[in-house]
């Protein structure tokens, strides 16, 4: 088991969002966490990434307790977080953003290799190498955020709503890239509202409603589940 979350309770101020959320991700898996707006999907990812401290519960990564560890330390353990807001460095060029992604890596040769890897994954980024990230389109920014997350050669990436605000073609391009990464052995935890798409690409899924995990099963089964079909797929 690569990542295990146990009984997470979390929220903002007096507002509790997550109630006893437990789940796990195995090494090499492609897991999705789906649910309606406001169910607590992004909050869950924020806790895993160290951007938010849970009220109670624990997070274990590779057997090590990382609950409440700040984001920069979580990143150093090999977890990359691609947030919904992307949080790119707006007045830095694409290349500088990617270089920041490799901030924790000292070996220049390795950084160069990672850069090539990212450019291969997203050729568009190489074309836009010198452009400021703040002036790019939504899809390109999403690619850059994923690329930046990949620079540090993480073993697990947490992706928050990669399809949001993207055209269907861009969405496909982003999901294809995530698929390629998974084939290369990167474990992926995906948070999505686009349920149909998520079930197609990932192996196992969790359904989060009102801060609780209500269902968990392989995606093929989830797609056939009566509750899921009624609530999310509208059939």
């Amino acid at each position: 088991m690569l990542l295990q979350a146990t009984d997470l309770n979390a929220g903002y101020g007096f507002l509790q969002i997550l109630r006893d959320v437990s789940f796990h991700v195995n090494k090499g898996e492609y897991v999705c966490l789906v649910g309606p707006n406001g169910a607590g999907k992004s909050t869950t990812l924020k806790i895993l990434a160290g951007m938010l401290k849970p009220m109670s519960g624990s997070v274990k990564f590779q057997g090590k307790d990382i609950t409440g560890l700040p984001g920069n330390k979580v990143h150093r353990l090999g977890i990359s977080y691609i947030s919904e807001a992307l949080d790119l460095f707006q007045s830095m060029s694409v290349k500088e953003n990617l270089a920041m992604g490799a901030y924790t890596m000292k070996d220049k040769g390795v950084v160069e290799k990672r850069l090539e890897f990212v450019y291969e994954l997203f050729p568009r980024l190489k074309e836009r190498e010198k452009q400021l990230s703040g002036t790019m389109s939504g899809g390109e920014r999403k690619m850059l955020a994923i690329g930046r997350g990949m620079m540090s050669d993480p073993s697990l990436i947490l992706v928050d709503e990669p399809s949001m605000g993207l055209s269907p073609e861009m969405t496909n391009a982003v999901f294809n890239a995530l698929g390629v990464l998974n084939e290369k052995g990167v474990t992926i935890l995906l948070v999505e509202q686009n349920v149909t798409k998520s079930f197609k690409v990932s192996q196992r899924g969790y359904v989060l409603e009102h801060g609780k995990i209500v269902l968990q099963a392989p995606c093929a089964e989830l797609a056939e589940n009566a509750h899921v079909r009624k609530v999310f797929l509208g059939v």
Partner: protein
């Protein structure tokens, strides 16, 4: 970064730049300075350049603090004061020996030692401020951060001014000159060796600072934090460390300016007020949080003050920049160098 394109594309780019607001302003400032120099003598340009360099240092620090930590610092002048105090106490015990034997190695190096001591002490003061004041407050709550941090710096400023008064008294502690070398004739006037050195030190520091910010890994991390704190955290940057470093750098530069200008501004409790106002003029003119703009802004504020002193009269030199600022705020609130997408190193 012009060096990536070579001279052939640099000239058209320069032409293009001159048509932008910042380019036009710089061009206009240069023309005004030249005209004034032709009319009243070269000392206008010399004074502008000498004091402008140091105001640029103070202003760049203030812009950096604003850009990286989102603090509107009103305690920045007190680091200037700390610098002048440190330089005074390092330098003055040897002042007789140095001024009597100007041609020894000791006399040549001692002023630099005093300035370096001020730089270090300013940096330490900055680190202490971060650890004792800003960090506890940040840990408590980020709510109303801009307002709270502003009030905190204001209180800290009053505290430090009064500490100076209690522990060192209210008298002026100054020196006549750092280096006892003859003045140098230049552009129709005499320039003291001190002023020349002050200019070179300022230029060196601005260049070193710019290289640090644009070419090094740590500088890139500072810029990253200023552009997106969560983003920087996500890629593994230790935000606390960067913020401490930012304060150390900024306060160190302000203290260095205080030390370098000791022969013009003796150490006394409220010596930091002038530099504080100046650096705020600079930061607002340049656009909040824009460090490159602040470097240029330093010279523009200095020019404005020198022109005011020459043509309107002594004592108006803080009024005219304020009026200029008001007009600017009406027509271009983002500052002369402000842009939509920006960070601490914008061009």
């Amino acid at each position: 970064m012009a060096n990536e394109h070579g001279i052939t594309s640099f000239l058209p780019r320069l032409g293009e730049y001159c048509k932008s607001t910042s380019g036009m302003t710089i061009l206009f400032a240069i023309i005004v300075a030249t005209a004034a120099a032709v009319h009243s003598g070269g000392y206008i340009i010399l004074n502008t350049v000498v004091t402008g360099g140091m105001w640029a240092l103070v202003g760049m620090g203030l812009a950096l603090i604003f850009g990286v930590m989102n603090i509107s610092s009103f305690v920045h002048g007190e680091f200037f004061m700390i610098g002048s105090l440190v330089a005074y106490y390092v330098y003055s015990p040897f002042v007789d020996i140095i001024l009597d034997n100007p041609n020894t190695f000791f006399a040549a190096v001692m002023p630099l030692v005093a300035m370096f001591a001020a730089l270090i002490m300013g940096g330490i003061a900055g680190v202490l401020t971060e650890h004792l004041a800003f960090r506890p407050m940040r840990r408590r709550s980020k709510k109303d951060w801009v307002m709270n941090s502003f009030v905190l710096t204001l209180g800290l400023s009053i505290l430090l001014i009064n500490c100076h008064q209690v522990f060192f008294g209210a008298e002026f502690r100054g020196i006549v000159k750092y280096w006892n070398y003859p003045s140098i004739a230049m552009m129709g006037t005499y320039v003291s060796f001190d002023r020349l050195m002050v200019f070179f030190i300022a230029m060196f520091m601005i260049l070193a600072f710019w290289l640090l910010m644009s070419r090094t890994r740590i500088g890139r991390a500072i810029r990253a934090v200023s552009q997106s704190e969560p983003g920087a955290m996500m890629v593994g940057v230790d935000i606390n460390g960067i913020q401490t470093l930012t304060l150390a750098l900024s306060c160190g530069m302000a203290a260095l300016a205080g030390a370098a200008l000791l022969f013009m501004y003796p150490a006394y409790p409220t010596v930091g007020m002038g530099p504080l106002y100046n650096s705020w003029f600079i930061v607002i003119i340049a656009g909040m949080g824009n460090v490159t703009g602040a470097a240029v802004g330093g010279f523009m504020v200095a020019l404005l003050q020198v022109l005011t002193t020459t043509y309107i009269g002594e004592g108006w030199d803080y009024t005219v920049p304020v009026v200029f600022l008001m007009i600017l705020m009406i027509f271009k609130p983002s500052g002369l160098f402000g842009t939509a997408v920006r960070g601490v190193l914008d061009e």
